[in-house]
């Protein structure tokens, strides 16, 4: 008799402990930003484990940089859809009117021209582009860290994600602040000692070298800071999960 009640006591105790531990883990995971926006569905658990593990392991780590001798002689760019009329108009004027608007949770929303961006500290890095298909190349990328722009407009402390949009329709992504403030996340203006070619995202591409190539959106015109991704698109974080691809692409 006492045996059964003891067993029940132990199982109830264990279940309660597991429940409390589960709730506490979920709470802590949310508080420390370990839950990706595409955490639902049958692939949600795997994606959450991956993102949480990466955020604990790779918050500040730097992507590998290579010597100049390793720059690929043959870089490769996946072809993009034919450019829109808006893009062609900018191309015809040499991108002199290209504007990057920065808004959302910032103190001083701004609209920056390419020469405004060039007046910020310009850095270069020799890093690899890795496509989810499997191929890769190394190139030198020249630009200003996104962090410089975010600091210039006064990013508010409650901002948790940066959402960025291409001039081309339905092409947008977002990253968390760990990647947005990362010193290698560049608003990229140049490649291999020249201007950034259009096929590689010129005149302006946001390069996120710690993630796969599809997070580095080409032809950037708009950046917004937010505390929640729920209001953007279908609320999955970016266009990628809407097309069946993971939001976090550092793997």
């Amino acid at each position: 008799m006492s045996n059964i009640s003891r067993r029940r006591l132990i199982t109830t105790g264990l279940a309660a402990t597991a429940g409390v531990a589960g709730l506490a883990t979920a709470h802590l995971a949310r508080r420390y930003g370990l839950i990706p926006p595409d955490n639902g569905g049958i692939y949600g658990p795997g994606e959450t484990l991956t993102y949480a593990a990466q955020r604990l392991l790779t918050k500040h780590s730097l992507a590998r940089e290579f010597p100049r001798s390793m720059i690929s002689k043959v870089p490769f760019a996946n072809p993009t859809a034919p450019p829109s009329e808006a893009f062609k108009r900018h191309q015809a004027t040499g991108f002199s009117d290209w504007k990057l608007s920065v808004d959302g949770m910032v103190e001083r929303p701004a609209s920056l021209t390419l020469s405004d961006l060039k007046s910020l500290p310009i850095h270069n890095q020799i890093t690899e582009v890795t496509c989810e298909e499997g191929w890769s190349y190394v190139a030198e990328w020249i630009g200003t860290p996104l962090a410089n722009v975010l600091n210039a407009v006064g990013i508010l402390p409650q901002a948790r994600y940066i959402v960025y949009f291409s001039i081309e329709r339905d092409w947008w992504e977002s990253i968390d602040m760990a990647d947005a403030l990362h010193p290698q996340t560049f608003l990229t203006l140049g490649m291999n000692d020249g201007d950034l070619p259009v096929s590689f995202g010129g005149p302006l591409r946001l390069r996120v070298p710690r993630q796969l190539g599809y997070k580095s959106v080409k032809y950037i015109t708009h950046i917004t800071a937010t505390d929640s991704l729920k209001r953007f698109g279908k609320g999955l974080g970016s266009a990628s999960p809407e097309g069946g691809y993971a939001w976090y692409a550092g793997i």
Binding site: Y43, G46, L49, Q54, T58, A63, E128, T130, G244
Partner: protein, 225 residues
Amino acid sequence: MTHWITVISFFALLITGAEIVISHPRFYWGETGNSGTPALFTLPIPASRSTVPTGYNYVMPDQNGWSRYLHFEAAWVLVLTGLVYAAACLCTAHFSKNLLPPPADRRWSAFREVFAKYLRRASPDEAEGRSYNVVQRTAYLVVIFVLFPLVIWTGLALSPAFDSAVPAAVNLLGGRQSARTLHFFVSGFLVFFLVVHIAMIILAGFWSRMRAMITGRVVQPSKRT
């Protein structure tokens, strides 16, 4: 239990891995490689992307999105199950008792005897029906301690964020494209083991082996007559 979870996640990894390869069935050595550079070798299949020069005028349907989600989820299941298995094995001394070949068997002639017996198709005696011979033990140890760790390592080396934290993971393998090629070959060795493993079970009597694997009870075939 861990065996059957591993079976499910391994098949998920195999199918999704094949789908991911189809998007770029060219392999390279070193750090970089793409459609504009020469390949180490190319699989003779069409690709699911039109940009890959395969020699076929046909583009396969693109299955990369869900394949990648499932590949990494199944990898988590496999790794976590592997940790539970390893912990259980250490507790019950399964590795040293049942998998490490006994000292008398650690010689080439012991391997030869087992192969000779396989070739004669001799039926196993009572003791062999209950335990593993030296070839089986070696194969299982190689799979558990060499191939699975290697396939996990080469897979992790393909993660740009993981490489930023642990650059040696990819540098020691000779670069990103080398890691991808090695990941493909180690997976191939695992598939080879799987094929032999299943062939052996079928030769040994599929249903009696299944019963033994699931219930732990062994019924000697000779007793049926």
